[in-house]
């Protein structure tokens, strides 16, 4: 925690270190959750005692393009053997990209007692800490969740359109090639799942991974992050910000950075993102 205070984060308590996790492997008040971009990683070895939350099979509605319902979330949490008091620690591959996505979905259901392990799976592996293929088993609980809150940290297309018209800040966290639209129409390759390329008008481009120290997957310091989001792009902590990417997964990482590490009060993730906007009829697009 001292390390995270030193780095100047607005809410340092939201992060835990690999050391902290290593010393809480047998803490029944803590549940470690691995959430990955690569579906094989958990099965190939995970932190002892860690459970897996898979974005595709655990967090999505099986029919609609939406997240799981309150009932689905209660079933998931009960299966993981946690209660509203359990401290959840998320970690994963790709610099915690999917871990922050799972964290974001869990916040839709108000599980505030949640943390991210700084550095994620990469740092754990670099430190040669133990991994196991043994799947843990915990007694199921009877978790009760509130209704999903889609208003506070989630944005829908009509709200994004109003946001564009009001000239409020948007952050496109995709790669520069996706932002410019040049990566959409490569011959012979599958496309992005969108009919048009480009970005939402007014959006600035800050690829999500710029918030990370690539050598060990840890988050950059608050000063370094401010230099990127405020110095380069002119964002301010009291801005009403909407972030997006392709389906809302990379942008959940930037949502986490702006909200918890820089203390922005009003950041929403547009999970419809480019796969929705790039297919909508009669919405403005910039290239």
């Amino acid at each position: 925690m001292d390390e995270f205070v030193r780095r100047g984060y607005a809410r340092p308590e939201v992060l835990v270190s690999t050391d902290w996790v290593a010393s809480h492997l047998h803490d029944s008040a803590v549940r470690i959750i691995e959430s990955n971009e690569d579906p094989l990683l958990y099965a190939s070895g995970h932190i002892p005692g860690a459970v897996e939350v898979d974005w595709t099979t655990d967090l999505n509605d099986p029919v609609r393009r939406d997240y799981l319902t309150r009932e689905g979330f209660e079933t998931l949490m009960s299966r993981l053997g946690v209660t509203p008091e359990t401290t959840l620690v998320f970690y994963g591959d790709k610099n915690n990209w999917w871990a922050t996505y799972a964290f974001w979905v869990f916040q839709l259901f108000g599980h505030r007692n949640a943390r991210i392990m700084d550095g994620g799976r990469l740092k754990w592996e670099l430190e040669k800490r133990p991994l196991t293929r043994e799947k843990p088993s915990y007694p199921p609980t009877n978790y009760r969740a509130p209704e999903r809150d889609d208003a506070t940290i989630r944005a829908f297309r009509d709200q994004v359109l109003a946001h564009v018209q009001a000239r409020e800040p948007l952050v496109d966290v995709r790669s520069p090639a996706e932002y410019s639209g040049e990566r959409l129409h490569m011959p012979d390759y599958p496309n992005e799942g969108a009919l048009r390329g480009g970005h939402i008008p007014g959006a600035v481009n800050v690829p999500w991974s710029r918030a990370i120290n690539p050598e060990d997957g840890t988050f950059k310091s608050a000063n370094e992050l401010r230099a990127i989001y405020e110095g380069e792009q002119g964002l301010r902590p009291d801005d009403d910000v909407i972030v997006y990417c392709r389906i809302g997964e990379r942008s959940s990482h930037t949502w986490f950075v702006l909200t918890y590490l820089l203390g922005y009060q009003h950041v929403r993730n547009y999970d419809g993102s480019w796969t929705e906007w790039g297919n909508l009829v009669n919405v403005p697009i910039e290239r």
Binding site: D38, P39, T56, E125, D188, I247
Partner: protein, 149 residues
């Protein structure tokens, strides 16, 4: 499936019998363990951008070199050390398509990714892996065009 190279058809048949997510993961991890990165006499990092698989978050690269028997030898690099799925697919493609009749390789559909990895793979992951197959397919088609042309 009958038009696919026999080695690929065999692997697809193995995966057709998979009954659980865990079993599929085990099979794929076994393949990932067999992955051999592109040898240094073919390419060394930093790899050229035209060999990079579009949309692949595991930073995969693909090369195709003509063999003396008139077929192609495929090589792969996966720069993300945690890119197990990309490594598994690279190992399968190398084992089943290198040395196979190029006409058959050119006809391999990127949809084999779903038959190997299952339908519940995320869109982004699926696109990256399909991009690897598409690059192999595109290389085979280009090779055939050159031969005919």
């Amino acid at each position: 499936m009958t038009d696919y190279p026999p080695a690929l058809a065999e692997v697809l048949a193995d995966f057709a019998f998979v009954t659980s997510r865990a079993e599929r993961a085990e099979l794929l991890i076994d393949w990932a363990d067999r992955f051999k990165p592109v040898p240094s006499h073919i390419a060394v990092p930093p790899y050229p951008e035209d060999r990079r698989v579009p949309f692949c978050e595991s930073e995969a690269f693909v090369w195709a070199h003509p063999r003396q028997d008139g077929t192609l030898q495929f090589y792969f690099a996966v720069e993300n050390p945690q890119g197990l799925s990309a490594m598994a697919l690279a190992a399968i493609l190398d084992a089943t398509l290198s040395g196979a009749p190029v006409e058959q390789v050119a006809a391999v559909s990127p949809d084999i990714v779903l038959r190997l990895f299952g339908n519940d793979i995320s869109m982004g992951k699926g696109q990256g892996l399909m991009g690897m197959v598409s690059m192999v397919q595109a290389a085979a088609r280009a090779f055939l065009r050159e031969k005919e042309g």
